[in-house]
């Protein structure tokens, strides 16, 4: 039996936990909504405008960096399995070094152009 059957069962159990807890809440918790209660919370004053606000683009730079590096890091895991094999060990070390070295150029580039600095 595959261990992933248990993983799938755990996901189902998690969903069941959520549903059961919400059922318990439905039975136990009061419900008396008023208009004031349902307004958006803005520290006690009436909400101003919409929820959306222009956010700094800088967050996005980190997201790019992460996506690129995450797909790169993914290749490290298969590498771990062949590093000890006699015919591929040293060769794969060089291959990965080149692979990550090329990507590091990107990180250094971002750092040198000041994209990782805010102030």
């Amino acid at each position: 039996m595959s261990p992933y059957v248990v993983v799938a069962a755990v996901v189902v159990v998690g969903l069941l936990l959520f549903v059961a807890a919400m059922g318990a809440r439905l039975l136990l918790a009061p419900s008396a909504p008023t208009r004031a209660k349902l307004t958006t919370y803005e520290s006690g004053v009436d909400p101003v405008g919409q929820d959306w606000a222009q956010t700094q683009i800088r967050y996005f730079v980190y997201a790019f960096l992460y996506v690129i590096f995450a797909v790169d890091a993914v290749y490290l895991f298969p590498w771990a399995l062949v590093l000890r094999s006699a015919d591929l060990g040293a060769a794969s070390l060089v291959e990965i070094a080149v692979f990550i070295g090329v990507l590091l150029v990107g990180l250094v580039h971002a750092a040198r152009r000041g994209l990782l600095r805010w102030l």
């Binding site: 683009i57 996005f60 797909v71 993914v74 290749y75």
Partner: protein, 99 residues
């Protein structure tokens, strides 16, 4: 034992849905979502071929990894462009961008 009709059918459905998404959406990010669906149809085919045996170089799985990598790079660049367009124009409506 697994019958490959399931994976093949799912791959064609995903590709069709992706094509619809690409054609029927005006928001650039939503078009990207359609593209992702098409790419997933392709990787699903690769994996199911890999699962069927006779895959000497593990091509099904390795190529799937490569496609996922390329997709990530593609999404990065595409979203950067989308964001740039948004910054300059204030929306990402493809109809207006084209004109």
């Amino acid at each position: 034992m697994i019958h490959l009709a399931g994976p093949y059918l799912l791959a064609s459905v995903l590709a069709g849905l992706g094509a619809y998404g690409v054609l029927a959406r005006r928001n650039a990010v939503l078009v990207l979502i359609g593209v992702e669906l098409i790419l997933n149809a392709a990787t699903l085919l690769l994996v199911s071929v890999g699962a069927s045996g006779g895959d000497r170089w593990a091509a099904g799985n390795v190529l799937t990894l490569f496609v996922i990598t390329i997709a990530a790079a593609e999404v990065c660049v595409a979203l950067a462009v989308v964001l740039a367009v948004y910054r300059l124009r204030g929306d990402i409506d493809l109809d207006r961008t084209r004109s």
